[in-house]
Symmetry: C2
Subunit: 269 residues, 2 copies
């Protein structure tokens, strides 16, 4: 059952995490703690973790690795926030057994094992904020729904048991805004970067934009160009394929809110 | 009559200009002096020059001003090359009377007047070189034709007698290359910058890509996206509209080759 949302969008990352830790908040984090980086989370036993880290390095667009446990068993992520305890600081988790979600608890302290490694991956919330600040309308935000996501026919580079097709998120916008959005997102390589495709969805294996594989459909206008970004759901699809005995992720939309600022992610290269 | 081409593509900007000056070269400059910035040129009497400079400032995408005469009558452009004499250093000129081209000489020393002002504007050759270096196929180059250019329905901001629709050049490419091309060209604001449109040509008033208003058609493949850049022909259309008693431009494709390097145009902002 979803608890009362005690969080407001004026809070900092540390304040949201404190609410998660005391179990006073277990809801979606979209729009909360504006300016602060939010992360996808994957937690794996050490043997699988090595392969997963390679998978991220081979597929940096869908899996932009921001931080990981300093050593197996370390549930802190000091690079993202001095007090982070990855066992309690997410609003909601997914427990995976043999590639299937079996439970969605709001903390995993009892499950945590000495050889587990936590990974935090960049999330599109960061670039959505940058686009909104540039005056670009993000359709899923203005329509109040989850971003539509699709399985493509693009293969990720495999690593150990991790493999699968790339998942993309789609945001439609007029051409002039699409050109601006590409320039803005290119400055954020650690949160998926520039789109990987635009225009004809069929060219990347998407049959029908109105039937996303994840999230919700959004309306397309006559002068819209659909833009497709590599998506942080890709590692969860790879996790399905890996069929590990046990693994943990965040519940989609229920992200780790960090102390890092989105503005710190801008690449000046 | 076109003279024998004495220029080779190993020459510098200064060497090409020297050949122009001695009337040993009067051909197109595309592909010559690789790495060196080439410019569109407009030469006007002082009274019209003030309005034209305003027109460039108001319409920087089609009219990116790189340099102009330090004072009326100055035929040097030291910012672009220490020895430039704008009266002799282009391979071929256009003489305009009342908005019409009446002559295409290879020097204008006899015509030059004490109150004339020369303007040098950025040219797409610079970003085409950057795209080619990134491994992107430029269709007009690979097909050995002039880039196709189109009159749009986009109004330029008028200044004095100068006004008219924006002219765009079009380069088709697959989506992934289009996304990369946008990022590359955005770093070259002084040579038209990022495209101003992509996708549906009808949205900017172009009926048929196979019937360009200037230049030649290029082939479009099924997975191509057409990209449209603001084009340096725009000021010549504005010059037609202005119907000045006398004005000079370069002959299209017959550019001023400067000592500036394309790499120096990269914006780090």
């Amino acid at each position: 059952m979803t608890k009362m949302v005690a969080a407001t969008n004026k809070m900092t990352g540390a304040e949201i995490r404190a609410l998660c830790r005391s179990s006073d908040f277990d809801n979606q984090t979209s729009g909360l703690a504006p300016g602060f980086v939010q992360c996808n989370v994957v937690i794996l036993p050490a043997d699988a973790a090595t392969h997963f880290e390679t998978f991220c390095r081979l597929n940096p667009r869908p899996c932009p690795l921001l931080a990981s446990s300093a050593e197996p068993g370390a549930y802190q992520l000091p690079a993202l926030g001095s007090d982070i305890d990855i066992r309690t600081d997410l609003p909601r988790y997914r427990v995976w057994k043999n590639g299937q979600v079996v439970e969605q608890p709001n903390e995993i302290t009892q499950l945590w094992q000495d050889d587990w490694v936590a990974f935090a991956l960049g999330c599109s919330f960061s670039f959505e904020e940058a686009l909104t600040q540039a005056g670009i309308d993000i359709r899923n935000i203005s329509e109040g729904v989850n971003v539509p996501m699709y399985r493509t026919h693009i293969d990720c580079s495999p690593a150990g048991p991790f493999e699968g097709k790339m998942v993309v998120s789609m945001r439609p916008m007029p051409a002039a805004e699409a050109i601006e959005a590409i320039q803005i997102c290119a400055r954020y390589p650690s949160v998926h970067g520039a789109p990987i495709h635009l225009g004809n969805p069929g060219l990347i294996g998407i049959d029908d934009l109105q039937r996303p594989d994840f999230g919700d459909p959004v309306s397309l206008r006559e002068d819209d160009i659909p833009l497709f970004w590599a998506c942080g759901v890709t590692p969860q699809v790879a996790l399905e394929a890996a069929r590990l005995p046990l693994a943990i992720t965040h519940e989609p939309g229920h992200m780790l809110v960090t102390d890092l600022k989105n503005s710190e992610l801008v690449s000046h290269s």
